[in-house]
């Protein structure tokens, strides 16, 4: 059973975002890390980059595949998780916490309401 924290919003493409004021912290879900298994490399966006919701802006690589990560929200990348760059396994061990990928200064505060709720995301992944 994948963990689906209730304080997050979700994208269909298996990213989560935690919104506080004008900032969105983004990572991939427990379901996603479970599908990927061992993450061996993470390529993070450049700080200062502007992204729109749905843009591919990071890459998470497992032994077998490279997966594009799409920003669920629009804005400017203000911080990236340097720890995940040196220890990619954090994405597997703590995908909603220490395995966060990047932070976005939101350009559209209402945008996150269009994302999936925890219930909707759990339904999408079939409660698996």
């Amino acid at each position: 059973m994948a963990n689906v924290p209730s304080d997050l919003k979700y994208a269909k493409s298996h990213e989560w975002v935690r919104v506080t004021d004008h900032l969105g912290v983004v990572g991939i879900t427990d379901h996603a890390q479970h599908e990927l298994t061992d993450v061996v490399f993470v390529e993070l966006p450049a700080v200062g980059k502007t992204v729109r919701a749905g843009d591919a802006c990071a890459v998470v690589e497992s032994v077998k595949t490279a997966s594009d990560i799409y920003s669920p929200v629009s804005g400017e990348i203000v911080e990236v998780n340097a720890t995940v760059a040196t220890d990619p396994s954090l994405v597997n061990k703590d995908p909603h916490g220490a395995g966060w990928l990047f932070k976005v200064k939101l350009s559209d505060l209402g945008e996150a309401t269009g994302l999936l709720t925890p219930t909707q995301y759990a339904a999408q992944i079939g409660g698996a």
Binding site: T37, D38, V40, F41, E43, V59, E61, S62, V63, K64, A66, T86
Partner: protein, 380 residues
């Protein structure tokens, strides 16, 4: 409709993540590729290789036919011996790489790649039709009725005998499976079926491969699990199979080998026999051996932390006048070494160990270096 091996239900029961592989539905992993890879390096792993092909070749002219069709020398095989060999076309291009076993005085078994069964059998039949001694050769493609499993790792020899109590009545005369030496094969039976077991593998570890009629492979798989679990045996999928063989630089058809690449270019000249007489492709291979080749397969390692190199990523030379050299044939993050590794073809002049290279990953070039093969070696 994808093909399934007789072990399909076992893979489902064990939580195998099933994917499509060359028309087959097989597990890429059960828990994780890294987990399974390390299990094989440290203890034991078992792979379903039933999708591979099995061709029996018998008769008084079988040896001569094989020597005209394959690159290695079948005369070197004692009864119960096996050898790695290649099958080339008239231009020296590799049709397949395979193992040839001598099961009896005039009986051979070829183990061929799953992806090449149709091409190989068609080619063999074509060669046989031209072979002057064809009346003395019988060829039988048993791929559809034969299954196989590979059990690999340093601890396998400790439990393999519990799976196959014997007796052993063909091939190398042994009392126990664990008495087989590398490349030897012996015949035993299980539930009335003929089972061949060899001390061979595709991982760089000690291990065994078992070939049986399809009907008994599920029983074999079960017996191996029962005996091997206390030793740390894990089921291993295609993902680990690929990372294990890449670490030791074993070629994979369709990556390092194809029908416009020769064994000499692939660095497999050791498996070409020059003193056994003519064989298909010999003239071109002999020319390449004497004059050299334009391209050569190298192994490389990434020199800095980077995304893993993957098949088809461009390979560049290093420095100010960097040139595009070729592309990655096989590449992955090495679970044993924790760094990106791979193999690819480069111009022969750059095929020397320590030559710096750059691998283009998503538009950016990352530094790498040519290393000797195998890339992973067990510490002595």
């Amino acid at each position: 409709m994808l093909k399934r091996t007789p072990l399909f239900a076992s893979h489902q029961e064990m939580g195998g993540k099933l994917i499509e592989f060359g028309g087959w539905e097989l597990p890429v992993q059960y828990t994780s590729i890294t987990d399974e890879h390390l299990a094989v390096r440290q203890a034991a792993g078992i792979f379903d290789i039933s999708h591979m092909g099995e061709v029996f070749i018998q008769g008084p002219e079988a040896e001569a036919f094989l020597n005209q069709t394959l690159t290695n020398d079948a005369r070197k095989l004692p009864v119960g011996g096996g050898q790695y060999t290649l099958m080339c076309n008239e231009l020296g291009g590799v049709i397949d790489d395979l193992y040839a076993y001598r099961l009896g005085l005039a009986e051979y078994l070829l183990i061929i790649n799953a992806s090449r069964i149709t091409e190989d059998v068609s080619w063999l039949e074509g060669r046989l039709a031209q072979f002057t001694g064809r009346a003395g050769v019988a060829l039988r493609n048993a791929s559809d009725v034969t299954a196989a499993a590979a059990i690999q790792g340093p601890r396998v020899a400790e439990f393999i005998d519990a799976c196959f109590p014997g007796p052993f009545a063909g091939g190398t005369p042994v009392l126990r499976a664990a008495d087989l030496r590398k490349n030897q094969v012996a015949r035993t039976s299980l539930s009335g079926a003929e089972v061949w077991i060899s001390r061979t593998g595709y991982t760089g570890e000690d291990g065994f491969e078992v070939v049986s009629p399809a009907e008994v492979i599920v029983e074999i798989w079960g017996r191996i699990f029962e005996a091997g679990l206390p030793y740390g045996l894990k089921p291993a999928g295609l993902g680990a199979r690929d990372t294990l063989r890449t670490e030791v630089c074993y070629p994979l058809y369709g990556h390092e080998l194809d029908d416009h690449t020769t064994p000499i270019e692939a660095g497999l000249g050791f498996f070409v026999s020059w003193d056994k007489g003519d064989f298909t492709g010999r003239p071109i291979l002999a020319h390449q051996k004497a004059k050299g080749t334009t391209k050569r397969l190298v192994a490389f390692k990434m020199t800095d932390r980077s995304a893993p190199p993957r098949p088809h990523y461009p390979i560049w030379s290093s420095g100010p006048q960097a040139a595009l050299l070729g592309e990655v044939a096989s590449g992955t993050q090495s679970p044993s070494l924790g760094i990106g590794i791979g193999m690819g073809y480069v111009p022969t002049a750059l095929a020397k160990v320590s030559t710096p290279l750059e691998i283009e990953i998503r538009g950016r070039r990352a530094p790498a270096v040519v290393v000797s093969k195998p890339i992973y070696r067990k510490a002595d």
